[in-house]
């Protein structure tokens, strides 16, 4: 009997094994990829169901395979931030880490920057770092409502209402027509009631108890906390210093400014310069004020720059003609239209320049504006603004801004009034 072993074809066996292994690997890979891919949509579902741990688990797996997926990064940030069971350390900072991985080339770049800015501003109380994010977001997507809104509020809440016009008006243009009255009311409040205009934000940030209105005390608390949490920014030091200056304590304002970090020339903040100039002049340190003015970073423009240069020319250098020119430029800018003390300063320079008739006329104008700033006027304005659906009352807003020479506001209120009048009574009686 002939016994024979089956023929062992090594080559075939290897090939078969390889195919099997390949098939298995393919299956596993497909399964993993499929599950991972399903993980993103599952994570989205988990987010919708507010199942944050599950969403994070799904996203972690997904991001392991898709580290450059911006949408997933943003979702992960949300799943971290919205989970109340996590501490700030375990939620916000990792969330920012995810958002920072969204590259500039991504379509979600603006969204990521806005979200990072929002976390830095509202949770970490770091306005300077947040502002940088908002500005990047607006540059990438000028139509970002949230970025424009937050940038405007940030400027307002750091004592820079006079610089917030551009972001506000971008936001206004993005606002649906029916909500523009509300937006204009917010704008009015931020300019004329700065202490109480940001109650909702102050409440969110923990500076006022729930349901309470902001106050000067809350503003102080806010600025103090900003400086504490964002110590490497000139802005936060300047904002607190300016608050002390306005309270009549320039000596302490100087102390705070002297603690601010010295940054390189490109990142130096004009607000920091403006605060320095005003504090140094208050303290009679005129040489220092001139030195700061001379080193003001470019561009040499804007309300703060012209105002400060006017004050230096007027009070320090006694160059009244130059001061008149500078003051005129500052007063021509929207923020300058309400600055009746600056009008008085200019009028005084006109007297000293022997232009008494012009001085008298400007003083009259300043008096008109000063009266428009009186408490009784604004009590009435607030009553009117409580009824945004009444076009008759809102005409007074037009009149108010007309007297100030603020054409953009006049036109905007007029448009809104026209819109209201075109609406059926149901809309007008609804609670805006």
């Amino acid at each position: 009997m002939k016994f024979s072993f089956p023929r062992f074809n090594l080559r075939k066996t290897v090939i078969r094994c390889a195919v099997v292994i390949g098939l298995i690997a393919l299956g596993v890979a497909s399964s993993v990829l499929f599950r991972a891919h399903r993980g993103l949509s599952a994570a989205e579902t988990s987010v919708r169901h507010q199942d944050w741990p599950q969403a994070r688990h799904q996203l972690e797996r997904y991001l392991w395979l898709h580290p450059n997926d911006s949408q997933a990064r943003i979702l992960m940030a949300e799943a971290l931030v919205r989970d109340d069971d996590l501490t700030v350390e375990k939620s916000v900072r990792p969330a920012i880490g995810h958002l920072q991985q969204v590259s500039e080339s991504s379509p979600q770049f603006a969204e990521a920057r806005m979200r990072e800015g929002r976390l830095r501003f509202l949770v970490l109380l770091q306005p300077s770092a947040a502002e940088k994010q908002f500005r990047q977001a607006v540059a990438a997507d000028p139509k970002s409502v949230d970025a424009n809104l937050l940038l405007w509020k940030l400027l307002d809440m750091t004592g820079r209402q006079s610089m917030s016009g551009p972001s506000f008006w971008r936001l206004y243009d993005l606002t649906p027509e029916k909500s523009r009255g509300m937006r204009l009311r917010e704008w009015y409040l931020s300019e004329f009631h700065p202490g109480t205009a940001n109650s909702a934000f102050d409440e969110k940030m923990g500076f006022v108890p729930r349901g309470s209105a902001s106050s000067e005390g809350a503003v102080f608390k806010r600025l103090l906390e900003f400086r504490e949490q964002d110590p490497n920014s000139q802005l936060t030091h300047a904002a607190l210093a300016e608050w002390f200056r306005l309270q009549g304590d320039p000596q302490h304002a100087l102390f705070l400014l002297q603690q601010a970090p010295q940054l390189n020339a490109l990142s130096q903040d004009p607000f920091f310069y403006a605060t320095q100039v005003e504090v140094l002049i208050d303290l009679g340190e005129f040489d220092g004020a001139v030195e700061v003015m001379e080193s003001w970073p470019k561009p040499h423009s804007g309300y703060s720059f012209w105002r400060c240069r006017g004050i230096v020319n007027d009070e320090v250098l006694k160059d009244f003609q130059a001061a008149i020119t500078d003051y005129s430029k500052a007063l021509a800018i929207p923020a300058g239209k309400t600055d009746w003390p600056l009008m008085e300063r200019k009028a005084h320079c006109l007297v000293l320049a022997q232009r008494k008739a012009e001085a008298a006329a400007l003083r009259k104008k300043a008096k008109v504006v000063e009266r428009l700033m009186e408490g009784a006027v604004h009590q009435r304005m607030r009553r009117i603004l409580a009824e945004l659906q009444r076009p008759e009352g809102l005409l007074e807003m037009c009149d108010f801004y007309h007297k100030l020479g603020r054409t953009r506001e006049v036109e905007s209120w007029q448009q809104y009034i026209r819109f209201l009048k075109e609406q059926p009574p149901v809309f007008r009686s609804s609670n805006l």
Partner: protein
């Protein structure tokens, strides 16, 4: 005094400890690197020295203000004035101090709370002659002003009250008679400061009476500041118009504010001074108002807003730049001191103001144009932490330039912090820039007071200016100037031909090739009256002094070679004569 800030604006919230550090740490940042915290102990060449000698001198007085806890009736915290004048003509300045009384039911027959007259015995001590002199004014007193209204050579006293004002006529025998009612000057409004000057060019003294608020127990309000009750300020009440009484030269006066064009209802005034601000030989009247625009009344027609107006006086403060701050804001003006602080021959105006607000120095640029130079002069930076009332411009070290004394103290009440404050001595560097040298000036300046009235005088005739200061809740102080200067002085007592004060006139001194122009003033400070004599520091001069006097009448007289370090009496139209008391009493 201003209490018009809303409650949440009136004070800074509590500043946490971590930012209360007043040390300058790192000095970084462009511009700031050059700035160090101004050393508050600037050491002048001559160290000031003032000693409170009230007690050893026999000036025992503590104002009764009747502060009733919880009532918060504003007159309670206004304090009272003080006046220096030589009522008995012995060459030594006596001291009159204004007292309060019960506010709810003033009894004009009571003698428990009366103004006090302290006679200067000439040996450093004073004796209380209130009762023997008959100067028993017992209303709720506020201010006092000295002026010889009947030109009999004996200075009289006008006293403002929270209630009817009084005129104490000096009988010339060491006694006084109250003639307010018969003279027609017993204005019942809330009077504060007063100035005597010739307003109608008839060579007698008329009276400008500053009124404050239309306040009485029926309309008094209580305000809240940072959750605590306190006194309401001028924003809560209407103003009371000032009064101007023209002397009829028969012992009576006629109220003539309207006739003279001195009518401005929204005053709320606390201080007044008369001086010739535009060098035309005629006095202007400057009124410091509390949270209302200040007044500057002039007879200079070119300055009038409406040149067609027939009124003799016009209020030109607004156009002149001395009504409000540089940026057009009303300030809470409490006290005034006027002098040529920057040596340009023009008299400047210094005003004390509220807490966390600057004091103001209006620099006179000529032709009734003023420039708020508070920050350059550093009267701003030395005042943000204080609330000033009475103030005096005087030359503490005889260097020839006027320095400043300021009495400070808050107005909200003892429940509020700060209430008592340190007084201040500001040294003028000669260019109109001031340094706070208070810590060097003696123990008084290290203590905290609620300071109010201030009047300066060389009461011991040693050629330097001393100070009388009234406080709330503490005895008044008599600050004897013991600064050792080794420098010279010249004292002048000037009387016009009509035997009135020479306010509106000017004195030009020439010595050692230097020329010094001095404008003669009347009034100033807060509720108080300074020594009417002129005391001029001459520095280290070596020779005699020549003098030119431009009298308010327009007459110019010259006097050569006056010996320094003594007082001279000069009557218009007569030769100068050494004031006998100077040599023999020193």
């Amino acid at each position: 005094m201003s209490l018009v800030l809303s409650c949440d604006q009136s004070r800074s919230p509590q500043v946490p400890k971590q930012i209360q550090n007043n040390e300058t740490t790192s000095k970084v940042g462009t511009g700031l690197s050059a700035i160090t915290q101004r050393d508050s102990s600037v050491t002048p060449k001559i160290k000031p020295k003032f000693s409170d000698v009230a007690k050893p001198s026999g000036v025992a007085f503590q104002r009764f203000s009747e502060i009733v806890p919880g009532r918060f009736f504003l007159p309670e915290i206004m304090g009272g004035g003080v006046a220096w004048f030589d009522y008995d003509g012995d060459g030594w300045l006596d001291l009159y101090v204004v007292n309060g009384c019960r506010l709810d039911n003033p009894d004009r027959s009571q003698t428990n709370y009366v103004n006090r007259l302290f006679r200067n015995e000439g040996n450093g001590s004073f004796s209380d002659v209130t009762f023997s002199s008959g100067a028993l004014e017992n209303g709720y007193g506020q201010g006092c002003a000295v002026g010889d209204f009947n030109a009999d050579g004996f200075p009289d006293l006008y006293v403002t009250n929270f209630g009817k004002n009084s005129l104490l006529e000096n009988n010339g025998d060491g006694t006084f008679s109250e003639v307010g009612s018969t003279a027609g000057v017993d204005d019942p409004s809330w009077g504060t400061s007063t100035v005597w000057l010739d307003l109608d060019d008839d060579f007698d003294l008329d009276l400008y009476v500053v009124n404050y608020l239309d306040l009485h127990s029926g309309n008094s309000e209580v305000c809240e500041y940072n959750g605590k009750k306190g006194y309401c300020g001028p924003g809560s009440y209407q103003a009371k118009a000032d009064r101007v009484y023209l002397n009829q030269n028969d012992g009576t006066f006629i109220e003539s504010a309207g006739k003279l064009g001195i009518e401005a209802a929204e005053g709320k005034g606390l201080a007044v001074i008369a001086a010739d601000f535009d060098n035309d030989g005629r006095s202007e009247v400057y009124v410091a108002n509390d949270m209302a625009a200040n007044f500057l009344f002039t007879r200079t027609q070119d300055s009038a807003d409406d040149p067609r107006s027939n009124s003799p006086f016009h209020n030109v403060a607004q156009a002149s730049g001395c009504a409000v701050s540089r940026d057009g804001k009303n300030e809470a003006s409490m006290g005034i001191a006027c002098a040529d602080f920057d040596g340009d021959g023009l008299i400047d105006i210094f005003l004390t103001h509220y807490y966390q607000a600057k004091n103001t120095l209006y620099r006179n640029r000529g032709s009734l144009v003023f420039d708020d130079d508070s920050r350059r002069s550093r009267v701003a930076t030395t005042s943000f932490g204080t609330l000033g009332f009475g103030t005096a411009a005087f030359d503490y070290d005889r260097d020839g330039v006027n320095d400043l004394f300021i009495a400070n103290g808050h107005v909200l009440g003892p429940e509020h912090d700060p209430f008592a404050m340190k007084p201040q001595l500001l040294r003028n560097d000669g260019r109109g820039r001031f340094d706070d040298i208070s810590p060097l000036a003696g123990e008084y300046f290290l203590d905290h007071f609620v300071g109010r009235g201030v009047a300066t005088a060389d009461y011991d005739n040693d050629g330097d200016a001393d100070l009388a200061v009234t406080h709330l809740n503490r005895p008044m102080s008599l600050l004897r100037n013991e600064t050792e200067t080794g420098r010279h002085f010249l004292g002048l007592q000037l009387k016009t031909a009509a035997r009135t004060s020479a306010v509106g006139g000017r004195v030009v001194l020439t010595f050692d090739d230097q020329k010094k122009v001095i404008t003669l003033t009347s009034g100033g400070s807060y509720l108080s009256s300074n020594d009417s004599r002129l005391l001029v520091g001459l520095g280290d001069l070596s020779g005699p002094v020549d003098l030119e006097i431009r009298w308010p009448s327009g007459k110019v007289e010259q006097f050569q070679g006056l010996e320094h370090d003594r007082y001279w009496l000069i009557l218009e139209g007569h030769q100068s004569m050494p004031f006998s008391l100077s040599e023999e009493h020193r």
